[in-house]
């Protein structure tokens, strides 16, 4: 092109061309700036919501780094937290006088050995660990020594300030912050991701009371273990869960197998007569029996190679409340036959007795029950033999029986206030009311008298079962339990206590049964936790309470006639 200009030689044409080229160039640049300007306006003024969201996500304030979120109880009291602890190391090359440095260190860390320190500090390495997990105080003291060549590394360390309290619920973590048991394991991912503390349904105050009372009772009766549960009857929240012996989650390695074993959720036991609660409830619900039905309990039942006996034999016809009150195996077995195997199995299944519970723990026992549900099984299951469930199964199902008939899945996580509580109706409100009357009868005038607590209207049922070892029952090895609900006219909490192999003592006249070992401790637990939970005592003689708890059906004429005939 330039050649052409030169060839033309005409100045005017050249000027014209230059002008138009400048215009084009200028126009292009102007268009580019305009585009930039428009984009600028678009970005800074006409913001789309999405972009705003991205922008505001940039956090300005500093946030503490946390390896795992805290775990708190239902009132926000800290149960588990991660603390950065300092571990002391040294670079021996930088230590000029190992003897002096060692002597200084012994002054603030007396548990270290001086000879060992000198050896470590004069070694030919450039990194030696001297002490792990120092307290802030110790760290401060070491820093104050001003010895060059000493330094700290920071590690996260899981701390359980309440020690053994709630150990089986919380579980523990390994050295690399991996949850290895309990909530720490089942919420491992969640705890690593979340920032907010995880609120459990546990109340640490109730936990302490349960722990103390059970430990005392276990010692009194020389039991090998035991445990207890406090469950909110209307929400399914576990307020307290104690399994003894227990361990310190701060030092899980120091605990043996038995201490780590959660008897309340992982252990399944034949629980004995407490199952009569369900037997009676099913009979009343299905109409297989009414409150005034009566059964002949005058003679033991012999079936196949078994004999079904009564522990407190009355040797006469008993009506439904009496069967419950005297805990008659014979009467219960006969009732179960009227219920039928299929119905019994269906209801127990509905009550959650044939599957694992819904709680958030990895330690959960699978119930054991007969594969083929024969007549003999139906009869023994009526009084809690031939079926093994965890004490938590029992607590959860009893809650459904007394709270009006609705089964709420048990949980260890606090339910948000006002949140809908999941539940399935299993029994009618009428059956539930009748069961409450029967449970009160046991404590007022039956095998559970030792659980009575003035003002708190305890209702409950005793259970005593022989432990099976190698397919045979051992007469002296008992599982003694008591399950209670209070206040029974409008239950708030279910309390379960279980003792593993208690031995009879003089105070209990040599008995080691549920009524003598577990019932008194349940009574004491209720007396102490009720004021803590803000439950005012009730006037037991108040007409509306007497009315709610009076047994509907007195003995019928027919029944009396039969009783006379049998005597």
């Amino acid at each position: 092109m330039t050649t052409r200009i030169r060839m033309d030689g005409a100045g005017k044409t050249a000027l014209e061309t230059a002008r138009s080229r400048l215009l084009i160039g200028g126009g292009l640049i102007a268009a580019a700036f305009l585009a930039v300007g428009i984009r600028l306006v678009d970005v800074s003024i006409i913001e789309t919501p999405e972009q705003t969201r991205i922008a505001s996500h940039r956090t300005v304030a500093g946030q503490m780094r946390m390896a795992r979120a805290d775990i708190v109880d239902r009132n926000g009291i800290l149960l588990a937290t991660s603390l950065g602890t300092a571990s002391l190391y040294a670079d021996p090359h930088k230590i000029r006088n190992p003897q002096r440095a060692a002597r200084k260190l012994i002054g603030v860390l007396p548990e270290l050995s001086e000879a060992e320190l000198v050896a470590q500090l004069s070694s030919d390495r450039s990194f030696v660990w001297l002490d792990r997990n120092l307290t802030p105080r110790e760290q401060y003291d070491v820093n104050r020594l001003g010895v060059p060549g000493l330094d700290f590394r920071y590690e996260d360390h899981r701390v359980y300030p309440n020690g053994t309290l709630g150990a089986h619920v919380l579980g523990f973590t390994g050295v690399d912050n991996l949850g290895l048991a309990g909530i720490e394991q089942s919420f491992d991912e969640n705890l690593k991701a979340r920032r907010e503390p995880l609120p459990l349904s546990i109340d640490i105050r109730v936990q302490e009371i349960l722990h103390r009372e059970l430990a005392a009772q276990i010692e009194k009766f020389s039991a090998i273990g035991g445990g207890g549960i406090v469950l909110d009857a209307n929400t399914g929240e576990i307020v307290s869960l104690v399994s003894l012996p227990d361990f310190d989650p701060n030092d899980p390695a120091g605990a043996d197998e038995d201490a780590r074993f959660n008897r309340m959720t992982l252990g399944v036991y034949e629980l004995g007569s407490v199952f009569k609660i369900f037997n009676h409830a099913i009979a009343l619900e299905t109409g297989a029996a009414t409150m005034s039905s009566a059964y002949d309990a005058s003679e033991p039942i012999r079936i196949a190679r078994f004999t079904i006996n009564d522990f407190h034999p009355e040797n006469r016809w008993l009506n439904l409340p009496e069967i419950f009150k005297y805990s008659s195996n014979i009467g219960s077995a006969k009732m179960a036959l009227d219920i039928g195997a299929q119905t019994q199995k269906k209801f127990l299944s509905d009550l959650g007795m044939l599957r694992r519970t819904s709680i958030e723990l990895p330690e959960q026992g699978q119930p054991m029950y007969p594969a083929t549900w024969r007549e003999i099984n139906t009869m023994t299951i009526a009084y809690g033999h031939g079926i093994a469930v965890s004490p938590l199964h029992l607590a959860n199902a009893v809650a459904a029986v007394v709270n009006g008939g609705i089964l709420h899945p048990a949980t260890l996580i606090r339910r948000a206030r006002g949140a809908a509580i999941p539940g399935t109706r299993i029994l009618s409100a009428k059956t539930s009311r009748q069961m409450r009357q029967l449970l009160r009868l046991v404590v007022e005038d039956g095998t559970g008298r030792n659980a009575d607590t003035p003002g708190y209207l305890v209702g409950g049922k005793t259970g005593t079962a022989e432990k099976q070892v190698g397919g045979r029952y051992r007469r002296k090895a008992l599982i003694s339990s008591f399950v209670a609900a209070f206040p029974i006219h409008a239950p708030r909490y279910i309390v379960v206590a279980m003792l593993d192999e208690p031995k009879g003592i003089k105070d209990s006249y040599g008995f080691a049964t549920g009524g003598w070992t577990a019932a008194p401790v349940v009574g004491r637990i209720i007396a102490r936790i009720a004021p803590v939970m803000g439950i005012a005592p009730f006037d037991e003689q108040a007409p509306q309470i007497r009315h709610a708890l009076a047994i509907d059906a007195p003995a019928t004429l027919e029944q009396r006639r039969r009783r006379v005939a049998s005597n």
Binding site: G62, I77, L79, R205, V532
Partner: protein
């Protein structure tokens, strides 16, 4: 014609440059401050965190129970210590010194007068508690056994050193009693 424009433009450019310089220094300084503050916040958060753990450690229920047993005259709250306001007997007015209680129909009137007087009277909201007891001193008078439980209730009820009369006076004011 070109000179003034150039001068104006140069002034503007150097002004803008200086402003930019200044702003960028300001930002760097603010950034520094932000970083310092953030470090401080994190350090404080860590301290709070450690203190929370220590607080929880020192407040273990078993430890509190032991300490309370050693230093305080308190027992776990018993159900029989809780009463309903309606269970208390009706408070009758103190008869007049002049013996002006002959008017039987006048009882409700005097009662009402007593209550109105109490309502109107400039009573302090809470009676001052007796001075803290030092271990060396003999126990002070305690009419009602303290019902403050070992484990903290939602609302502790101060009853140490108060007579039933004080409780009743509170009740007539709509305070006290079980909540």
């Amino acid at each position: 014609m070109r000179r003034p424009a150039t001068i104006v433009l140069l002034t503007l450019a150097s002004g803008a440059g200086a402003a930019l310089f200044h702003v960028s220094y300001d930002v760097a300084e603010l950034d520094d401050r932000l970083a310092t503050l953030n470090r401080q916040i994190v350090a404080d958060q860590e301290t709070v965190h450690v203190l929370r753990a220590e607080w929880s450690f020192l407040n273990q229920p078993a430890r509190l129970e032991e300490l309370s047993g050693r230093y305080l005259d308190l027992r776990p709250l018993n159900g029989s210590q809780i009463a309903d306001a309606t269970a208390l007997p009706v408070r009758l007015p103190v008869p007049n010194k002049d013996g002006d209680d002959a008017d039987r129909q006048g009882v409700p009137r005097t009662a009402l007068a007593a209550i109105t007087a109490e309502l109107a009277g400039p009573q302090p909201l809470l009676k001052p508690l007796p001075p803290a007891r030092s271990p060396a001193r003999a126990p002070v008078r305690t009419t009602a056994r303290s019902v403050t439980p070992l484990l903290p209730l939602a609302k502790p009820i101060p009853v140490v050193g108060r007579s039933l009369d004080d409780v009743l006076a509170d009740l007539t004011h709509g305070r006290g009693g079980p909540r």
